[in-house]
Symmetry: D2
Subunit: 286 residues, 4 copies
């Protein structure tokens, strides 16, 4: 196993005959041993998505060389593609307000190796979690958000994100709506956790809405942020059974567990390059 490294190849393009053959032939020609492969052709959009993990010989190959030599094939088929090392740690900026359960969960996973990522910055409109950030050694940016300072606040947020070199932005119960401009700029790279089973109960106070409607199951939804509130492509959803006996605070408490794990799974899938945006939806290779 000396001189072997793992690489993840991700591809999306228009679907056509011969695609897989071209990709597989390329990998075979470069001595790649495939360890995991998943693909999906969407009959509605005629888009093709693929994720291949493989071992290669580092004595004879490199990511850069693979990338360069794959280029003609990618150009021929009009592919979006990437070769990534699973060793690389993506930079994930976390935004949070007062509820800290998702933040605590993400930081613990980072610390214990459950999520292979770095967190170069935590941004919050409150100071509640400054100490947790400090304990994890993550710079904490307090950027208050008021109806009056929204443009300045967003500018400050954007500056922190840009300075951090963030690959991904996670809204871990950040109770402010991002501007369309920011949502658009980081399209496909901002994950939000919404505390309902979307599309039910969009907007504010979803647990109160769920309680009022008398649903027997509550849920949480992790999705990419788009310009339309709570309408972005869904990455992951999880649910839990409840009954008439649960008051709104009980739903809030139960929901915290759903939110933390739903968000963590979505972040994990994104980091491991398992998620592809497919129009208003996602393809997720589990």
């Amino acid at each position: 196993m000396t001189n072997r490294a793992t690489c993840i190849l991700t591809i999306s393009c228009a679907d056509t005959t011969g695609l897989v053959a071209a990709i597989a032939q390329f990998l075979s020609n470069h001595g790649a041993f495939i360890t995991e492969s998943a693909q999906y052709g969407d009959p509605a959009t005629c888009r093709f998505f693929m994720r291949v993990a493989f071992h290669y010989n580092t004595a004879t190959h490199s990511l850069a060389r693979l990338h360069a030599e794959f280029h003609p094939i990618a150009a021929h088929y009009g592919m979006d593609y990437g070769f990534t090392s699973p060793e690389a740690k993506p930079k994930v900026v976390i935004l949070v307000s007062k509820f800290g359960h998702c933040l605590n969960d993400l930081l613990f996973r980072m610390r214990s190796g459950g999520l292979h990522m770095d967190v170069p910055a935590i941004i919050s409109n409150h100071t509640t979690h400054a100490d947790v950030a400090k304990w994890h050694g993550v710079p904490f940016h307090h950027i208050p958000a008021t109806p009056e300072n929204k443009p300045q606040a967003e500018a400050a947020i954007e500056q922190v994100i840009a300075a951090s070199g963030a690959d991904l932005i996670v809204l871990a119960r950040y109770m402010q709506v991002l501007s369309p401009t920011l949502s658009e700029k980081y399209a496909g790279r901002i994950i939000n956790i919404h505390h309902s089973f979307l599309p039910s109960f969009k907007g504010a106070e979803p647990y109160s809405q769920a309680h009022a409607r008398g649903v027997k199951i509550i849920g949480a939804t992790a999705h990419y942020v788009t310009q339309e509130l709570d309408e972005g492509p869904i990455i992951e959803q999880r649910v839990e059974r409840v009954d008439h006996n649960r008051a709104v605070p009980d739903l809030v408490a139960l929901g915290r567990d759903l939110e933390a794990i739903t968000l963590a799974r979505a972040v994990q899938a994104h980091i491991q390059r398992r998620v592809f945006v497919n129009g208003r939806k996602t393809v997720v290779f589990s």
Copy 2:
């Protein structure tokens, strides 16, 4: 165990101190041995709900006597109440269109003892399931439904229901909307199965709506029918995980299993007197 029978007492009324004491004292005075008891006081509506199953001595008591002797207590507290024998078989009229999975499921459960009920009539706007009805020995009423004949069709349906002495009406994928009049007349006694996780995807083609939105979990909802479409009190919901790979027909196929079991559980709970309507919601003692 000679001379012992089981009875189910159900109560709903305004909540107040001393209620349970009064009920429990009555039962104790009549030699009742409680086998199951559940209660709920809703802090929002200040309504109290209770279901008690108990053994009593048939040599000294009867349902009629229990009912009569409980009357003063019920009157004092303004209770809605009932004493029911679990031996009694409620009469359940089933309405169905072309999809037969819920009908087959309900009839099989009746036949095998899984649902303790009689089905005195099956009503359909199609003839698809006439043979299944015949095999189970249930009278089948073909009442076509067209935009033109709606009032006459409803009148015919109502006549069959009335003649059957139905305790409960089940819309087992009956693809017609009942009139407000009929919905109102049988309020709390018509159960519908909707093929989505309400309140998501009300109305027509919920699986197509779910597919278009890209949800990662689909569901089914059994609820009492009210005048507002798909807005009645929810009795039971069940869900199943799906992924991007599922086309609409796959969701429809998976959904059938959800619908059948969700409806069966709701009918079971209703028949066993476990369901109480509480405003726009239900209390279900499982």
Copy 3:
């Protein structure tokens, strides 16, 4: 879409570099458009499993020709392989004792198109379900099973199976243990439903065992039959939450729903060629 048909190619062999390239190149050379593809290389057993669904041109190709022309590749890599039409209806023989819920469920799915199969024979050691078989137009074979006649009964069963040309044998709550000889003869082609979450509660009365242990979740397991009782490769498992309030008959009743759906999903996966035996385990491409 004229002249196009769908084919499913299934492959298992020792894993090595270049496998997928060889397969994909073959498909591409024959003008195949891949609609679904899944593969798995087991690092423990070093076995490779693949299932590809594709469209091909019936004017220029046939299953027989594809099979013949793939032969050299298969021979080179030592593949077990098959080209199957999803139109073909496998023949499924069902064995049942007194409990009819799985039988009813399978027959309803066959009748309504949910399971694309033919049932040429139902075998039972009781006559309970003769009428259901008759109504579905399926020959019913009553083969009593007693401690004394076991060899003769098995011989009779084997004769019915052989005469039916069965592709698959389903033990739909057949409460007799098949002999090692029969289990071996139809290895990988007999599916049993066990009414527990294996490996918990093997053998008799699993719901009583579950009740005695006080588990908070019950389950059902569909698995291939092997010579060791309840030890065969697991295809599908499903579970349901229960609480202290459930007596053994309640668990039995709840379990019926689990058993029926678990078995149906396993049969569906087998019929659609999604299941591969991998030593004592299975690979299931969902």
Copy 4:
């Protein structure tokens, strides 16, 4: 709502006619307004269990007075009983080895109010989590455990527990087996989390066992510790679907989430006095 406090009354005794009447009459006589009530009579053991939450007037009553005045009733029926304030914070000692996910989860819940408890001591056979303990302000006791020092280590553990005044001891992935003496001494007050769906995969390396057996669902089990390893009364179980694609480390990672939430729910139920030991099983009023 002035002068009102909440109290939880828990009762277990032999089941008989008139029990609920006596209890309810007592509460009514003392002006109690019942906010939550659950009961269960086990037909197998003939034991009765009840949990009632109620408001009382602090101007006229106290827990001590309620307790004293209930005594004659309790004595008459041979009840084990207790009146507890939900305001009281139970003292919970946590034992942990190297895996910190359950510890982190419990401490975060304590800190954020999700679990209403105090943690007077953390005990570990490793120093891995000393810093986390420190950050949460909880005294950390490093008590190494080797085959040689087991009696001394247990004595040290027992001393910390005794000095802390612990109401509950939680084995949050503490990878040592407690002695029968200690298990017996704190019977019904030690909760362990086992990383499998018991009774499957008792003992060591349950995820490896699960992987080898090829189960399609993994689980976690929180149970009271008894003298028999992994055989104590089960409080809570949770499960998660897996497939052939998951290697042992994947199961370990997925399992962590199950373990943390399963343990937290069990601790929550215990703290809220919702759990009753009933022979080898539990009654849990959710």
